[in-house]
Subunit: 161 residues, 4 copies
């Protein structure tokens, strides 16, 4: 019958520090026309990253495939859908996108959408003939953030934890 | 030089379906005094789960340790902190809790807090002498949800995806 | 103080089945000149896969990058190295390859190597000018396996668990 | 149409280092009667660890549950089974143990078994009445390794990568 927590001293000595990242201290980085992201974590051990995505009313994220990892999203504000699906995301909707998923994000209304995304693997943007025209992963997202901070003369946060 | 997306036919035939879970269709399950959770995903392949946590003003989640997995949280509404830390979470704060982390969640103000948590591993609730008094994992959380639905005569959603 | 395992009934009713996959029941699928793989798991929830890799003496896996996920390897037999590194893998060596890693696998000696690899994300094969010439992920590896079984008239195992 | 690898400069500057850990440089740490483990990785970001397990002929790993994570195993040498299952593991068998799995490992023959295990979550050892009598996670395994090295006057490797 166990009582005491085991390994406590080792935890106290060796566990990694926790992190609290305040998104209002991070700039919106332009990602495309009427689309911005705000990074919250670059996990270089696992190749994952977390970002807020903002798309203004009538905006669109071009057709893309998620290769080599799953995606989870949680809608904070506004409404949006994938052209290839029948469901509509609204505040409080959790979205699971399996590896391989291909879709085009559109905001039909006038209201901005704001969604938290936790991503793994690679995002491959496709043209109408299924050619890959651009790819994103944890490194390209980090690069965009760091370059934007440099141009804007903003001190970047260390989000590699 | 690659052009076409590779493996497309296999994706179309075999990829898992995506999911859109609307949290306003799921009940608040009581977790303790002034504390509720609303499950959004039970991932039985990996032992992870996702839930919203609601703690009303002045409420508290007793001191606990996260063993065997990391936790990510994103604050939707309200403000809270861990008694053992100096930072205060507010809307838009992302929290990373490493494996082994021990803390006590308190809501100081009168406003309810609402936070999205993605959890792995085991939650071990501790008394003042570091004895484990209760444990939660993906199965106990699922059990609480299913039992609550049964008692309330609510049809449970299939959140095992 | 906890005694009984919690959630036991829910585990018994809902936990996924375990799996024991015998690699001697799976064929070697040609991957390139003097290179073969034998798949052991296609995890479509997470976009991961597990395979044995066999490279015969003097063989080579062309320069490639792992994008969007980590790789773990464990050497069963033989010896090999990455042209870009100084360490040499031998039986019993565990290799961790972080997201972004770029390398060229060579077997210097005459002995075949056999290594277990657990992969995530996307493998991008590069030419000398860093152009991507081919990509692999969990779906292309599954496709190669299924196509090989069809051509060879072998009944494929269901490795999607 | 993409050509060049994207984010290459950021990878070169910021990617984590790879690791090659030679298991013949690590001692066997006693885990129980006729049972030893040899740690290869303590992943404190995710709460996972990798170890070789050695059980000598006629040996046994007591009944235990894996809570809060999955387990993968690959048999290097010898043969073993779980009392609760019908399959028998042999060299080249890959085992997937889902979260919640409960089992008792036995080596029926006289030959030692050697198996690579990749573990997540918590291992809970149970008595015949399903009481938890001991728990292991990434921290307790690391603690056992470090304590054993201290007692044996061995310089421990840094396996926290």
């Amino acid at each position: 019958m166990i009582n005491k927590v085991q390994g406590l001293q080792t935890i106290l000595e060796m566990a990694l520090p926790d992190q609290a990242i305040h998104s209002d201290e991070i700039p919106w980085v332009p990602q495309g026309e009427r689309v911005w992201f705000k990074p919250l974590r670059f996990d270089l051990v696992n190749g994952r990253w977390i970002n807020l995505l903002k798309v203004s009313g009538g905006g669109k994220v071009n057709r893309h495939r998620h290769s080599g990892g799953q995606v989870l999203g949680y809608v904070i504000q506004g409404s949006w859908r994938y052209l290839e699906r029948t469901w509509v995301a609204r505040p409080g909707t959790l979205i699971y996108e399996p590896p391989g998923d291909i879709h085009t994000l559109v905001v039909d209304g006038a209201e901005d959408m704001l969604t938290l995304f936790m991503l793994e693997g690679v995002i491959q943007y496709l043209d109408d003939d299924d050619n890959i025209i651009y790819q994103d992963d944890v490194f390209t997202k980090m690069e965009r953030y760091l370059n934007f901070c440099k141009v804007q003369n903003i001190e970047p946060l260390n989000l590699r934890y």
